[in-house]
Symmetry: D2
Subunit: 352 residues, 4 copies
C-alpha cells in the first residue's frame, strides 16, 4: 500500500527508520494536535479570556479524547485539512457546556503547524544526537586509520598521496558546521503558531499576547509576536539544513563507493550486499544509498522553496506541498545519518 | 506510519487513490516479480535452454509460491534489492531438482524492472481512461457553459471579454496532445528487461533472442534486442509525461481558484471545503490540490532526469532514486486526473 | 559582464557554443520578430483583411527596418516584453499610412512566441545533425574497439567481463530513441502562435483561419486551429527532450571519467586538461563537463514544468521563467553533443 | 550573444542589475584572482617560506600585470579552469627570477574559490544594504497605509477583514530573519581557500598556518584550519539564503498581482507595463517578475545542493555546476530586492 520507500514492506529495510516513522506517524500528529487544542483551552483560562475552570475542564476533556486517525479521513477529503473534522469529533464527544472553550478563536493552521513544530522537537533532537554519533564514528575511523596513506584524487585522477586523516576530515568538518547551523535555526523554527482565522489574532483582542505566551510556555515552544501563517522561511530553512546534512553524507557515500572499486582498493567493508546473479560480489549498498538519499533531498528542497509563495493570508496549495515534502526529507536525512554511521563502523581497512 | 501523503490515514482522503495504490502495492509488485521469474523459467524451456518439463514444473512452482512482502525486508536491507532474498525463498520452498531452472541467468534488475513494467501496463491504462473521462467532462462543461462570457485576463489584468469556450479549450487542448504522447512513448517503456548479470545476455549464448522473444510474448510486453539496464530514458520520458499531465491540471486548478475569488465570481462550485474558524467559507480545496500536485511532480521530475546517470553496467544509486520518485509521481498524476474531473462535475456556473 | 558561463570571456571556452549562441542571439531574435510582423502584414493582405498593396508595403517596410537590440531595452523594462517598444519603433520609422497594417490584431505573445519557434527551427536542425554525428562517432568507436574486453561493473563493483561493444551500445541506443522522439515532438513545437489580445483571434473574425494558414505557410511553420498562449506543453516537452539528450551524454561522461581512473585504466584519451599544481596530471575535463551539463539541465527542467501553470489567458510570471531557462538548456545540450563527439574522437584506447 | 536574461540587450532591462553584473564580471573575477596570487606570494615572504624581497617583487609584479579576460579562453577550454593559463601568462610577463614565487604550492581551486569569496564580500554587502532599504520601504508603506482595511483572504477566498498593516508585516517579518541569517552564514562563507594540490597544504609544511593567516589578513577574509575544497556547504547555504530572500519577495509579488486584479482592487500602482494590443492595460510587470525570479532561484537551489557531492579531493563536475548556477542566483536575488523596493515605492494606494 505505501507508495513511499520509507514504509514499504521490503524497501523499508533499505530506506526505513522506525524511530522517525513513529515520531512522524499519524498517531503522533493527532496526539500533538490534541495537545495544541488542550493548551489553547488552558491558555485562554490562564489569560482570563474564559473561565478558568471551564478552560481546565475543556483541556482535560480534549486530552482524554480518544480519536483514531482514520476518523479524520472524510473530513480532510472535504476540507483539505483535518481540523474541522477534529473539532467536530471533540464537540461530539465532550459535553456541550465545554464547546465554547474548544477551538474558538483558533484556526486550522494554528493547530496543524503547531502540531508539526511539536513533532519537530523530538525529530531534531534525534537528528542532533545521530549527528553527534556519526561525528564520533568518523573520529574513531580517523583514530584507527588516519595515519595510513591514500592516493589523493582530484578530478577523478590520481593527484598526490595524502594521509587518510585528510579525507576523513573533509567528511567530518561540514558536520561540525551543521551542528552550529541547527542551533542557529531552532529559534526560527520551534515557534508557536497562533494567528486565528486571518492570522492577525484579532479574535483575542488584547488577550492575544498573554494567551500566546501561556500556550508557548505549556508547549515548551518559543512565543512569537504574531503568526507565521505565510512566513514559511523557517520551514524552508530547515529543509535546507536537512539537505545540507544528507548532501555531506552523499559525498561520503560517493567517496566510499569509489574507494571500494577493484583496482582502487582504498577501503574494505565488512558485510556488503549480495547479488542474485554473482555470488562473488559484495556491493557497497549503504554507500550507494547515501548518494541516492542526498540527491532525493536536493530535489525535494526546491519544492519547499517554491512553497514560500504562500499567497495572501493562507495558501492551501503551498501548504499542501510542504506536507508532501517535509516528512520525507526528514526520513531521508534521519536514515542517512544512521547509514553513514553504520558504514563507518563497517570499515575494516581504510588506506594503505 | 506512512510518511507519504498518499496513504496517510487522513491526508489520504485528500491525496489518495485506492486503485493506483493497489496497482503499486507491494503485493502487486511481488506478484509481478513472480510472474517474471515464472515466465523466464518457461521461456528457457521454450527456447530449449533447459528441459521443457523442468521449465514448466519450475514455472508452476514459482507461480504457486506464497510469499509475503515482509519476508523480503531483511534481504533488501542487506542487498539493496529484494531479488536475492526472493530467489532464496523460492529455492527454500521448491524442490531441489527445480533449482537449476530458477533465476539462473537472470539478474535482479531483470526481475525488478520487468515487474515495474508489468505494473505500468495497468497503471497507464487507468491513466489513459481517466484522461479520456476528464476530456469528456471538459467537453460537457463547454457544452453547458461555453457560450457564456468571461473577462479574458492576461498578466493578472482584465484584457478583453472572451467566451467561456475559449478558456475551456485552453484547458482541454493540451490533454489531447497528452493522449498522443502516451501512445508514442508506450513502445519505449512497455519493454521487457532481460540482460543477465552484466546486461549483455552473455549467459544465454545464442538462445538469448529466443528466450527474450518468448518471455516478452508471455508477459505481453515488447521485446528488445538487448537490455536497458542503464538506458533509463524511457522511465524519464514517462516521468515527463506524468508531469505534463499534472502540469496541465495545475493550470486548470489555478484558473478555477482565481475564478472563484469573491469580486471575480467567474465560477460557482458545489461542495468546497469548510473552515474550522469561518463557517461562511467554501474553499476551492480541489483546485488548490491540483496546483500542489503539479508543483510536486515538476519538482520530482528533475530527480528522474538525474537518474539517467546510471554509471557503468548498473547504478545502485540512480536506480534507488527511481524507486523513490516514480511511484509517487504516478500517484500524483492519477489523483490529479480524478480531482480534475470531479472539479469539472462540481461546476454549477461558469461565466456570465 | 555575462553572468552565464556560455558567453563568459573564459568559461565560454569550456561551456560555449558559437553556432547556437548566434542562433539564440538578440540580433537573430529581433530579425525573427520582424519576420513575424512582416508575415502578419502580408497574410492580412492575402486573406483580404486589409488592402493587399498596403499589406505588401507594410511588410516590405518592416523587413527593411533597421533596429538595434538595445533600442528595446527601456521598453522591455517598462512593459515586461519588447514588443510594444518594437511596434513604436516601427511606426516611428515607417510612414503613417502603413500604420494600420502594422501589428493591429496581433499581441506581444504572438510575436515573441513565433519568433522563438523560428529560432527553434535551425536550433533543432543543428542539434539533430550533431546527434547524428555523435552516433557515428560512437559507431566508429565500436568499430575500432568494440571487440576488446572490459570488466563489466555493476553497483561500482567488478561483475563479469564484457566486450567494449556492449558498453558502447548502452551509450548509443538511447540516442537512437532521442532521434525518434525529436521527430515526434516537432509537430507539437514548430507551430505558429497567433491568438491576438486575449488569445481567441477575436479581432480577425472569420478571416482568422486564412490569416493563420497564410502566415504559417510564409514562415514555414505548422498552422494551428487556435493559439497556444497558455498551452506550453510543447515547450516543456522540448525541454524534457533536451534534458534526455544531455542526460544520456552525462552517463557517457561519467563512465569515461570512471574508466580513466588510474587502477581501472579502461580508456586512454589524447589531450586532457592540465593542472596548475601537478604537471603530471591529465584531467578528463570533457567527461566531467558532460556530467555537469546533464545535472544542469535536469535541474532546469523542473522550472519549465512549473511554467506550465500559465494562469488565465497569459501569465507574465510563467512566461518570463521560460525565457530564463530554455535558451540555457539549448546551449547546454548543444555543447554536450559537441563535447561528447570530441571525447569519442579523443579516445586512443578503450578496453583491453 | 548573451544566453542569459540578465545581460541580454533588451531583457536586461527587465532582469538586469548593473551593479551586481559589474561585481561578477570577468574583469572583477580576474582582478580578484590576481589579488589572490599576489597575496599568496607576499604571505610566503611574511611566513619566511621564501625570501621576503622576492615575495614582494613577485606580488608587485602580479598586481601590475595586465591580462585581458579573453586571454584565458583557450586555456580554460583545455584545462577546465582558467588558472593554468593565468599562471603561464604571469610567468611569460614577469622576469624569470620571480617565477619560483608565483603560484608554487597553490592549486587552481585555491585561486578560483578565494577569488569567488572576494567577489562575495561586496555582493553580500550590496544585498544587505538593499535588504535594509526594502525593509524601510515596507515600513514606509505601513506608515502610509497600514491602518486601512483589506479583506483577509485564505485559500483564495475572502476570510475576515484585516488591517493592511497585518499583510505588510507578513511581507516584512521574514526579511528581518534573513538579515540575521546573513550574519550567521558569513563566517562560514567568507573564508580563505588554501589547500594546495591535494587540499592538505602538504607543500607548505609547518609554514601552512602562518601563510594562511597572513593571506587571510591581507585579503580581509576569515582564516581556516584547512581547505574547504570539497566542503561546499557554505556555498549551498548561501544559495539557500539567496532563495529564501527571493522567495519572500515572490510572495510579495504574488500578493500584489492578486491585489491589483480588477474586482479585487486592493492596490493601485503608478506605472505598470503597457500592452501592444490593449492600450488600456497597466500590467503589474514588476510583481510578476518577482514571482518568476523566486521560482527561478527555487529551481537552481537544488543544483547547488547536488554540487555538495564533490567526490574525493576535487570534483570538476560539481565545481562546474556551481559556476553555472551561483552567479545567476545572485543576479536574481539582487534584482528581486531592487524590484521589490521599486514596487513598494510605486504604490499609490493600498487597502480601503
Amino acid at each position: 500500500m505505501p507508495s513511499d520507500v520509507f514504509t514499504h514492506p521490503w524497501l523499508g529495510g533499505l530506506f526505513g527508520d522506525d524511530r522517525i516513522a513513529e515520531l512522524l506517524s499519524a498517531e503522533a500528529s493527532l496526539a500533538n494536535m490534541l495537545r495544541v487544542e488542550a493548551a489553547f483551552a488552558r491558555a485562554q483560562g490562564t489569560a482570563g479570556a474564559i473561565d478558568k475552570d471551564l478552560a481546565e475542564a475543556a483541556a482535560s476533556g480534549i486530552a482524554a479524547c480518544e480519536i483514531a486517525p482514520p476518523e479524520l479521513f472524510t473530513g480532510t477529503a472535504r476540507d483539505g485539512v483535518p481540523v474541522p473534522a477534529l473539532v467536530e469529533l471533540l464537540k461530539a464527544r465532550l459535553p456541550e457546556e465545554l464547546h465554547a472553550a474548544i477551538h474558538t478563536g483558533l484556526t486550522s493552521q494554528d493547530v496543524v503547524d503547531t502540531a508539526l513544530v511539536l513533532t519537530l522537537v523530538p525529530v531534531l533532537a534525534e537528528l542532533q544526537s545521530r549527528l553527534t554519533a556519526l561525528i564520533e564514528a568518523l573520529e574513531a575511523l580517523d583514530h584507527r586509520f588516519g595515519a595510513r596513506r591514500l592516493m589523493g584524487r582530484t578530478r577523478m585522477q590520481a593527484a598526490l598521496p595524502i594521509v587518510a586523516s585528510a579525507r576523513i576530515a573533509a567528511w567530518r568538518d561540514p558536520l561540525l558546521r551543521h551542528q552550529t547551523r541547527l542551533e542557529e535555526l531552532k529559534p526560527r523554527v520551534l515557534v508557536l503558531q497562533l494567528g486565528g482565522a486571518a492570522g492577525d489574532r484579532a479574535a483575542f483582542g488584547e488577550k492575544g499576547p498573554e494567551i500566546s505566551a501561556s500556550m508557548a510556555a505549556m508547549l515548551e515552544l518559543l512565543d512569537s509576536r504574531g503568526s507565521w501563517h505565510t512566513g514559511r522561511d523557517g520551514i524552508a530553512e530547515l529543509a535546507g539544513w536537512l539537505s545540507l546534512v544528507s548532501g555531506t553524507l552523499g559525498k561520503i557515500g560517493q567517496d566510499i563507493a569509489l574507494m571500494a572499486q577493484q583496482g582502487i582498493d582504498d577501503i574494505t567493508l565488512s558485510g556488503g550486499g549480495g547479488s542474485s546473479a554473482m555470488p562473488h560480489k559484495k556491493n557497497p549498498v549503504q554507500a550507494e544509498l547515501l548518494v541516492a538519499l542526498a540527491r532525493f533531498n536536493a530535489v525535494q528542497l526546491s519544492g519547499l522553496h517554491l512553497a514560500l509563495n504562500h499567497e495572501q493570508e493562507r495558501s492551501g496549495a503551498a501548504w499542501a506541498l510542504e506536507w508532501m515534502l517535509l516528512p520525507q526529507m526528514m526520513m531521508a536525512t534521519a536514515r542517512t545519518l544512521t547509514v553513514g554511521r553504520e558504514l563507518c563502523l563497517s570499515v575494516t581497512r581504510l588506506g594503505h
